[in-house]
């Protein structure tokens, strides 16, 4: 499949789900991770043809791995501004066309080397988290088994591996100590698309819809003295802004389900803390206690199987946002969380420096 075909398939499904065609769409917002992952520069110009967007405003968003989330938020802002009524937003990555791991690890002379792709970059953050929080070593494996098991209930997840046990996960080969193979996202090709519409348009459409209650984005530099890379300030600020805008005082109790960007399993407890679902150094306890389980947990995290089971990088954030929407629409199928009324989509990117989040609800705010 070509990149154009991949993007078009996602767009066609989103439009069909919304009961629209491209003729109804006022503008298109496209996101993907850095262009050098496929070696196609500014693909949004060329993809306008595949999206039947010739003559329509097309806007491109760049925020590294968080881009799928940021792109959905920019699309929402196109509508919130009152300029457009119906916006199609699409995000994609086709990792098989390039080599993302090495594209992210250019050994620039005299600079700090990133080495060994994203896993090599993030492993020290994970080690620091384990040291600070005194989390047991098996927490990462617990998250991996949960997400890989959840993925089996999601026909769109790329990895369907039903047989993982905690014991087997703990035996999985070590890639970047302490990150094991099973605790690592795959390299995927994929695309996601959403249709975001104004309130009056949404009111006129039959069927369930997800109401956007709040959106937030924040960023910070990759490196600065005293930076907290385990619990970045930009993420904390983004979450605080999100809860304030959504009118959520206690996210742990008021949110029913969250799809958060967990490319390496240890990021689940780390982001639970960064988002304010758990206190400092307490995120791993929610994992250990089964709070984040799809069945029986009071705050299921990544019922779709998450980034750990499908990682078309540019699309991964939008998949989180779309999965959150499907949960409150009640259309998540086998991985539906019973009674989900309030859901969070979350994405991060770069060196844990870009954050994008939204809260969607089943009821109109």
């Amino acid at each position: 499949m070509s990149i154009a075909g991949l993007v078009r398939e996602a767009a066609d499904r989103a439009l069909a789900d919304a009961g629209m065609t491209m003729d109804d769409i006022d503008a298109v917002v496209i996101g993907k991770a850095p262009d050098m992952l496929e070696g196609v520069m500014m693909p949004e110009l060329w993809l306008a043809e595949a999206l039947a967007a010739a003559g329509k405003p097309v806007f491109r968003v760049h925020t590294a791995g968080s881009v799928g989330g940021s792109t959905a938020i920019v699309a929402a802002q196109h509508v919130m501004s009152g300029v457009h009524k119906r916006v199609l937003t699409v995000a994609f990555e086709k990792q098989s066309d390039g080599n993302a791991m090495w594209a992210l690890s250019v050994p620039v002379p005299f600079g700090m080397p990133v080495h060994a792709g994203a896993g090599g970059y993030f492993a020290p953050h994970v080690r620091a988290y384990i040291r600070r929080s005194e989390a047991p070593g098996y927490i990462g494996a617990m998250v991996a088994v949960k997400d890989r098991t959840n993925a089996c209930a999601n026909p769109f997840a790329h990895l369907h591996e039903p047989d993982w046990t905690l014991e087997a996960a703990m035996e999985s080969p070590m890639l970047w100590d302490p990150i094991r193979f099973v605790e690592t996202c795959p390299s995927s090709d994929g695309a996601a698309a959403l249709v975001i519409a104004a309130e009056d348009v949404a009111d006129s459409l039959p069927g369930p819809k997800a109401w956007i209650r709040a959106t937030a984005m924040r960023s910070e530099p990759t490196m600065f003295a005293g930076r907290n890379q385990v619990n970045p300030q930009a993420g904390q600020d983004c979450a605080a802004d999100l809860w304030r805008k959504a009118g959520i005082a206690d996210p742990r109790r008021e949110v029913d389900v969250a799809e958060i960007y967990v490319p390496f399993s240890w990021f689940e407890p780390m982001w639970l803390e960064n988002l304010g679902f758990a206190g400092r150094n307490e995120g791993w306890r929610l994992v250990e206690d089964g709070v984040t389980d799809l069945r029986g947990g009071s705050l299921p995290i990544n019922p779709s199987g998450g980034v750990l089971s499908s990682n078309p990088i540019g699309a991964s954030g939008m998949i989180r946002f779309g999965e959150a929407a499907m949960q409150v629409m009640g259309t998540a199928g086998e991985h539906q969380v019973d009674g989900a009324r309030t859901a969070v989509g979350h994405a991060y990117g770069g060196g844990s420096q870009f954050f994008a989040m939204w809260v969607v609800g089943a009821e109109k705010p």
């Binding site: 070509s2 070696g39 595949a50 066309d97 005299f110």
Partner: protein, 166 residues
Amino acid sequence: MTDEMADGPGYAIADDGSFTAPLNLAYPYSRTVGPIYGAFLTGLANHKVGATVSADGTVFVPPAEFHASTGERLDNWVDVANEGEVVSWSWEADPDDSQPLNRPFAWVLVRLDGADTAMLHALDVTDTSSVRTGMRVRVRWAADAEPGIHAIACFEPVEIAGGGPS
């Protein structure tokens, strides 16, 4: 600056004392091109030039996967001739190793007979007086045609009976 500092890969201290290091960017890209371009590129290896046809009857060569104006998904397939007409051209006086011919040649946009759009390729002529808009050209197939655009070695002028190149 001491020699000990120059211990990275390829690091060196130049005669003027400046510290130097190489940065060679290279990424191993590959493409899966999908059903339409894939069929086109595979067809070339079998000496067939494929095209897609839109609902309004436009014949696209190279085949388009989607109509540029309407977004129509194009999967109606026809073969066109391997001979056609030069629509526009530009002279390549100093070709490099990556180009189709290792001697000066013309880049041409060729509209093959039966097609409505033109494709870019090289035309094997010796000088600018041998190429003009409207001239007839045909595909010269590569000796061992593999799937891909290089299955077309280049285009060559069509000789008109009783005359020179048209």
